[in-house]
Symmetry: C2
């Protein structure tokens, strides 16, 4: 990410050094994941869990959590009050735990998605997939354990994170990950191979398959930051538009990029006869659609009323402009 | 289950009609599961989820939740106070949701465990396993969605169930299901095929693989029933002994029962060269060990100080005396 020109939603703030912001926040996420993932697991399982999660990935979802958290905090009436440092630290910890939890859900879904009975993929983030490296049984278990661990991370004992926040984070994550979210979208995807979908059906599939967890990341951050209802709704709209844009761009990259750039097998959707935005709309219209969705995301940030949504704006730009 | 003679822990109460108790509570669990599981899921996925959960299974874990809940309530200072019916209803609802949630975790673990890359089993509860019926990909997704749904069930919106209860239930379930619980035990199991384990190693494997979720069921019920710390600890001890007894008996049944009685493939542990209590101790000593653990479970109930632990006592008896 590079520095961005100011938009209407960031008019009161100087341009954000998005590279620096991103580096700082990524460092916190990587450190926390490295500390937590696989801790206390039997050796083989812990190795597979760490392999699946560490040292790879753009960490888009954790960054969305943290950006939404900071955006919500910037508009919170208590953000400048001289409240106890312990309360602030508890909110920060909740956001960091939420950031790691969504990444664990994402990582587990990739492990299971790559397995022979699903996409049968051997390359992920430029490395052998988990089942290639550790065997199918261990990959299955590692995915299962990562999902459970996401909810464990959200419910620490002996913490100042309020129980209401813990329960609400679990609620958001479970819905985003489950049959009315990510897993549901994958099931629709499974049933759609070789089937002609309408644009509405394709949108519904992606709204669940990738959109739900991306939007859920934004909502979890907004929750930790105590966003007011109107701001929460605007951030929800931002998450929906950005999540759909992510998938449209994914479909475009599957066609225009090569495997080395993607770090995974390119062209596999077309090879598997899966419906995509490119197959449905053609390349040019799909690219235009991604730009429309980006504009929608920015507009939602504008009406959030939050003073500082620069990081969220930058992340939406990154989603649409990325090359992998 | 049949009516049991009174033990020291039930001296103040008449014998429990365990058949009636069990029927009443099973009916509530079945009704709730039938109402909730697969609701809102895409058709194929919802069908697989319902197939995996409904119309089968002893529902031991849900019954443990409800028995522990009622036991804890019997000793709670507020159990006879004229508190609001709404509060009591919220506690009842929390226990029922917890009962269903542990069954969802159990059901998902069976779906994944039966898959070709794990035990490759085709028969479960007398029916074709989920991957045989719906295909491997759908079975993988159904298991994943069931795990997420367990946490969704524990965190309802618009409820009187306190957030602290919701968060604590998620904490207990995530730990029981994850890498330091059920999934961890399965990983040790995976690594133990053809390996000579000591009794301590075998106990540790089973403490995680089946014991953690059985004990977790008891603890979730105790939590919903507001058990005092001493009673909570005694119920935890009960859960540990009963959980281990369950596995010892499982190992015995794998040797002495046939597939028709078990509703699953008999003799598969020996065929897979997996260490069991029977292979380690011999049949007679394994049977004696199960009786010792049953006595331990009853002793723990005795020191719980709870006035009515009849249902928990009956369930422990059922675990050890079952024929399948």
């Amino acid at each position: 990410m590079s520095a961005l020109p100011m938009t209407s939603s960031t008019a009161l703030n100087p341009p954000l050094d998005t590279n620096l912001w991103s580096q700082n926040h990524l460092a916190r996420v990587e450190q926390a994941l490295s500390l937590w993932v696989g801790d206390g697991a039997p050796a083989g399982l812990g190795d597979a869990m760490r392999y699946a999660v560490l040292d790879g990935g753009k960490r888009l979802r954790p960054l969305l959590v943290l950006a939404a958290y900071e955006g919500a905090r910037s508009g919170s009436s208590d953000s400048t009050a001289p409240e106890g440092g312990a309360v602030q630290a508890a909110l920060d910890e909740a956001a960091l735990r939420a950031a790691c939890a969504v990444e664990l859900i994402h990582a587990y879904s990739l492990v299971h998605d790559d397995m022979p009975c699903m996409d049968n993929d051997v390359l992920r983030r430029g490395k052998p997939t988990v089942h290639v490296q550790f065997g199918e049984a261990q990959a299955l278990l590692a995915g299962d354990a990562l999902q459970a661990f996401a909810f464990e991370l959200l419910t620490p004992d002996n913490t100042l994170i309020p129980a209401a926040t813990q329960a609400a984070l679990c609620r958001l994550l479970a819905r985003a990950a489950g049959s009315a979210g990510m897993a549901g979208g994958q099931a629709i995807d499974l049933a759609s191979v070789g089937v002609a979908l309408t644009e509405a059906q394709l949108r519904q599939m992606h709204r669940l398959k990738t959109g739900a967890l991306l939007q859920g990341s934004v909502l979890m951050g907004a929750l930790c930051g105590h966003a007011a209802p109107a701001a929460y709704q605007a951030l929800s709209d931002y998450g929906a538009a950005m999540g759909l844009a992510f998938q449209v761009v994914d479909d475009i990259l599957d066609v225009v990029a090569d495997s080395a750039t993607l770090g995974k097998t390119a062209g596999k959707d077309a090879a598997a006869d899966k419906p995509t935005y490119v197959s449905l709309l053609g390349l040019e219209r799909a690219q235009a659609y991604a730009q429309e969705l980006l504009a929608e995301a920015h507009a939602a940030l504008g009406r959030s009323g939050l003073p500082d949504t620069r990081a969220l704006a930058a992340l939406a730009d990154m989603v649409v402009r990325r090359s992998h």
